[in-house]
Symmetry: C2
Subunit: 356 residues, 2 copies
C-alpha cells in the first residue's frame, strides 16, 4: 500500500490565488472581443489563473486520466441488470484500448491510467499496464452493512493520493477522473444524498439503464442505508458506510490534485459523489474543480449545485469511465490558450464599444 | 466574380443516406457501452454516417473555417454601440492571427479563410491572405430600404459557393461557418423572424451588448422592415430585403457543403439565420447541419428549433467569428472516432445487460 497519509495531504489544500484571479478578470476585458462574449470559457480561464497563481494561465497539458475500478456488494440486492463480471471485463477493455475512454483519450492526447482498487472477479486476458492496488475484493452490501471499514476507506483514499502524485511527478498539469464499477451509481446516490442533505428520491436515477421496479428498489436500499448513521456523522464514516472503493480512491485523487494546485476535471455522477467527499474532507477543494459535463443522473446536478460548479458539457452522457470529463479537455485548454494568444484592443488597433 | 450558379448547386442537395443511418444505429448498440449512454455523440455519429453514406463514418478532418465579413447600413440607425470600422479592424486581426477564432482554430488544427464580401471601410495594415470578393461596400440601411438587390444577394450566395468548393477541392472534409460584421445580429434577427414566422420581440437580443433603449429601437427597426414584404415572399427576396452580404455568402457556403455531402458545422445566430435561408432554398440542407453551440441570442434558439437541430455546446457564447462552432470540432470528430475505434461486446468479450 502507498506510503502517504491522506490527512496530511488534505491539510495542504489551500484557497486559490485572488490576485491572479483579479488580473485574469481584467485581462478578459482587454482581449479583442465584447466583454463576457466568451461566456463560460472566460470563467474557466479566470479559474485556471487563480489555480496556477499566474495570469495568463499555463495551458493545462499534458493531462492524465485515472480510471479507478471497484466492485460493489450491493449488486447482490439487484440494483443493476449488469453482471458484476462486467467490471473486470471492462478493465480488460480499457487495457486493450477498446473502450470509449481510450478512443477519447487518444483523440485529445491524454494518458489513461487504469487502477484496480477492488475488482471482485479476475481481470481476463493480458493485464499488462494494470495498476493493482486491491484494498478488498469489492465492498460489502451497503443494503445490509457498512460498505467498507473506515480503515479500508482511508486506504482507498491513499491509493488515490498515490496515483495523483505519480501522475503529477510524471508531468501532468491537469488530472481527470474516471471510474468503472458495476452498481456504482447506488453508492454515489447515497453519498450525494448524505452530503447534500437531500432525499434518495431526489438524487437516485436509472444509472446505465434500469426499469421502474429496480429504480424503486434502488431508492429503498439507499434510504435504508442512510438511516444507519446520524446526520452529523463524520465524512469518513459516511464514505465507509455507503461509499465504494473506487469512489474513495477518486476522492483521494481529487484532494491530491488540489493540494498540488492543479485543476481537477471531474466526470459524472460517480466523480461528483467523490468530489463531495473530497470537499467535506478538505473544504478548499471546489475551487480546483472543473465539472466536465452534466450527467443525466439527477444526483449529478444536485451535487454540482452543492459544489457551486457549472458543467462545461451537457451531452446527455451517462457512461462514466471519465468519458464526459475527457471530452471537455480541449475546451479547458482552449480557455487558457484564448487568454494567452488573443490580441488586446490596444495591440490590435481595434476600437472599443461606444458607451457614451 | 465566381463562375458558379447558385441554383444549380442548390438543386444538387439530396437527402442523406438512410441505409448508412440504419447501419450506424445498429453499430451504436454493439459498442462496449450501455445503449444510448454516449447521448448526443451517438446521434452525431449516426448523422455523420448518413451524410457520408458509410458506417462507421470517416473522421471529419481536415476542417476549414470560413469567416465571411460584411458591413450593414442599418448601423446608421443606431442598433449597435460599436463603430462600423471595427469590422475592418477585426478582419485585420483575423489576418494577423490575434482573434479568438485564430486561437481556437490553431488549437483544434483547423484552417481559417477570411473573405471580404462587403466590408465598408479599408482593412488596415497588411492584408495578405485576405480573399477579396466585395459585392458592395456594405448593405443599404434595412430600416429604410432593401439591404441588397436580388442580384447582389445572388452574387453573395455565389461567393459562398465558390469558397466552399475551394475548401473542398483542397481536401476539407468538414466546413465551419464564421462571420464578422458590426450590426449583423439585426439582419439575422429579421431573417429568423421571417423564416420562423415569429415576432421581432421573440427573436431579437442584445447582440454583443446593448442597453434597453437600443434593444427597443432594434426591435422596432426589424418590425418595420418585416412589414415591407408579404408573408409568402420568395426566400431570395427576403434575403435581399433584410439580410446581409456575409449572411448570404454563408448561406451559399452551407448549400455547397450539403451539395458535396460533407457535414457543415454552424456557429451562432448569424449562421442560424444563414442556415434558414439555405434550407429555404434547398430543403434537404438541415440533415447536413451540425449546430456547434447555442448562442445566448434568443433568435438562435428559435432558428435551431425550426431547423430541428440540437446544439453540441451551450457555453453562453455570443462572440461570432465561428468561435462556438470551432470549439465543437473536437467533439464532432470524437463522435466519429468512437464509432471507428471502440470494441464491440463480442470482440471485447464483455457480457451484455441481463434483461431477463
Amino acid at each position: 500500500m502507498p506510503d502517504v497519509n491522506f490527512f496530511t495531504v488534505a491539510h495542504a489544500v489551500f484557497p486559490t490565488n485572488d490576485a491572479a484571479r483579479e488580473a485574469a478578470r481584467a485581462l478578459q476585458d482587454q482581449l479583442t472581443k465584447p466583454p463576457g462574449s466568451l461566456g463560460l470559457l472566460e470563467a474557466l480561464g479566470i479559474q485556471l489563473s487563480a489555480i496556477a497563481g499566474v495570469c495568463p494561465p499555463p495551458v493545462p497539458e499534458p493531462v492524465t486520466i485515472a480510471v479507478f475500478a471497484g466492485d460493489h456488494g450491493v449488486v447482490a440486492s439487484g440494483v443493476t441488470p449488469w453482471p458484476q463480471e462486467v467490471t473486470a471485463q471492462m478493465v480488460a477493455n480499457f487495457l486493450s484500448g477498446g473502450a470509449a475512454i481510450n478512443a477519447i483519450a487518444r483523440h485529445v492526447g491524454a494518458e489513461v491510467l487504469v487502477i484496480d482498487v477492488g475488482v471482485a472477479t479476475p481481470v481476463p486476458g493480458n493485464t499488462e499496464g494494470l495498476i493493482r492496488r486491491t484494498v478488498a475484493l469489492g465492498t460489502q452490501n451497503l443494503a445490509l452493512v457498512a460498505a467498507m471499514t473506515v480503515e479500508q476507506a482511508q486506504r482507498a483514499l491513499e491509493v488515490g493520493v498515490e496515483i495523483a502524485q505519480r501522475a503529477l511527478n510524471a508531468g501532468a498539469a491537469m488530472l481527470v477522473t474516471g471510474d468503472m464499477g458495476i452498481g456504482n451509481t447506488t453508492p454515489s446516490a447515497a453519498l450525494i444524498a448524505a452530503f447534500t442533505k437531500r432525499s434518495s428520491h431526489e438524487v437516485t436515477g436509472r444509472g446505465t439503464g434500469i426499469n421502474d421496479e429496480t429504480l424503486a428498489l434502488k431508492k429503498a436500499v439507499i434510504e435504508g442505508a442512510l438511516r444507519r448513521f446520524p446526520e452529523n456523522a463524520a465524512p469518513l464514516e459516511i464514505l465507509a458506510e455507503v461509499g465504494g472503493l473506487e469512489i474513495a480512491a477518486l476522492a483521494g485523487f481529487i484532494v491530491a490534485g488540489a493540494a498540488a494546485r492543479v485543476p481537477v476535471l471531474i466526470d459524472g455522477v460517480i466523480a461528483v459523489a467523490a468530489a463531495l467527499v473530497a470537499s467535506a474532507l478538505a473544504p478548499a477543494v471546489p475551487s480546483y474543480l472543473i465539472a466536465g459535463h452534466r450527467s443525466s443522473e439527477p444526483g449529478a446536478s444536485a451535487g454540482l449545485a452543492h459544489l457551486g460548479l457549472t458543467p462545461v458539457l451537457d451531452l446527455s452522457l451517462r457512461l462514466g469511465e471519465g468519458s464526459g470529463a475527457a471530452l471537455a479537455i480541449p475546451l479547458v485548454q482552449a480557455a487558457a490558450k484564448l487568454m494567452r494568444e488573443m490580441a488586446t484592443f490596444d495591440s490590435a488597433g481595434v476600437s472599443g464599444k461606444d458607451d457614451g
